[in-house]
Amino acid sequence: MNAPPLAEQFACGLQAPICLTWELTYACNLSCVHCLSSSGRRDPRELTTAECMAVIDELQRMQVFYVNIGGGEPTVRPDFWALVDYATGHDVGVKFSTNGVKITPEIARRLAGRDYVDVQISLDGATAEVNDAVRGRGSYEVALRAMGNLAGAGFAGFKISVVMTRHNVAQLDAFKAIADRFGAQLRITRLRPSGRGADVWDELRPTVAQQRELYDWLVAHGTDVLTGDSFFHLSGFGGALPGLNLCGAGRVVCLIDPVGDVYACPFAIHPSFLAGNVRDPDGFAGVWQHSELFARLRRPQSGGACESCSAFESCRGGCMAAKFFTGLPLDGPDPECVRGHGEQALAAAAAAPAPRPSPDHSHRTAPYRPGERQPVPLTLSARPPVTACNANPLAGFVPER
């Protein structure tokens, strides 16, 4: 049993992912300013119900025991509940992320009766003011109502998922109190400059002092609070945090996006990290096992300048996606390196434009911001219809001779 540490073995890749994120749709009723997948509008190429079921069959064969389903807002897919039932009936447990819009008392009761289903409600402020500034007007109320419905139905231990920003680090205790009030578990994750997050990262990312506050808070709360392993870049402050402390991209983690594209990680939606598509002849298993990108990620990685740093053993240079979307080299420090190397690297990289996240499915209209009034985009037709019921666009059209 004197094998190398597990994290080292994981870095070489596994038969199948441990932590698979599957975004079912780019459609969303919200337009959160930091959306990591730039969601909003459905993509016409999204996987059909039958294709989704085929993916689930494949996950069952690969023994992927559970998937993290997200979006967009996955529950707006009309076949969402059918897909959840299909997955759990095929030994694939489901944890899905939602803003809560469809979690009615009836749905909550249905979910509470399921063994293999977990629910994660997104909330980015412990108060409506802080939350709605990021997630949109009314979204706090919707999330809290969903939590109330779940708790009321006896669904114990659902998750409340918070992206940490400059405006909510001070609310950590308040988030914990909300979770406790509903018998839920708090999960906090890192704000990445992915998707629309790239546009707001500079103004929303926690300050250096807040990173420290966050680290201390995490150390004090231990495994009580989930983090999805997203704060390992903070371990340079002291001891490593609970978890694998490893960038799992393409090694233990990957993303299937709504059109079936497979990316190295949910925060790396960009052609540079695209490994293949589940519609490829060998399906998802073929992509996971044979993609060149994943093979490259599973070879030993160079820490570059970071290797001489005393914190490298625990932080491993931080998050690949955070580096990529801020224009930093992948073998250098994380942009939020707690030793300050990130700030220097960012200053050095400022001259060249960082890669833009793509694709973009954002709503074409801007989300409502308090205090703003916007014009309604509307074009009035100048020509009345030929007859009351002739909807043919060519009605009345006479070609010139």
Binding site: L14, Q63, Y66, L226, G243, L244
Partner: protein, 101 residues
């Protein structure tokens, strides 16, 4: 990521009792050993060696955990380390004594 195997076991492990994998647990072999997932607790555990995987697979067919270890080729001097690993699995409900629910 939740990793039940990091939980420190409490007390000793009954090597002479009959044990089995919980019915809600699935096993995925990997190069390092195996991945265990408990559908009831939604916890993951890692078996950190192929030899431990062999022990776990043999548990249900052997009269005791000790016999399963022997059948899997575990040497006497290594037995306590395996007992420790099994205790961790018992604490996270991945394995349980046969005849208990």
């Amino acid at each position: 990521m939740a990793c039940a195997a990091s939980t420190e076991p409490a007390g000793g492990f009954d090597l002479d009792a009959p044990w089995q994998l919980d019915a809600q647990v699935r096993v995925r072999p990997e190069a390092f050993g195996a991945l265990l997932y408990h559908f009831g607790t939604r916890q993951l555990s890692f078996l950190k060696s192929p030899a431990l995987l062999a022990v776990v697979r043999l548990l249900g067919a052997q009269p005791s955990a000790r016999a399963a270890c022997t059948a899997a080729g575990v040497q006497a001097e290594d037995l306590m380390r395996y007992a420790h690993a099994l205790q961790t699995l018992a604490a996270s409900r991945m394995i349980r004594k046969r005849g208990t629910v």
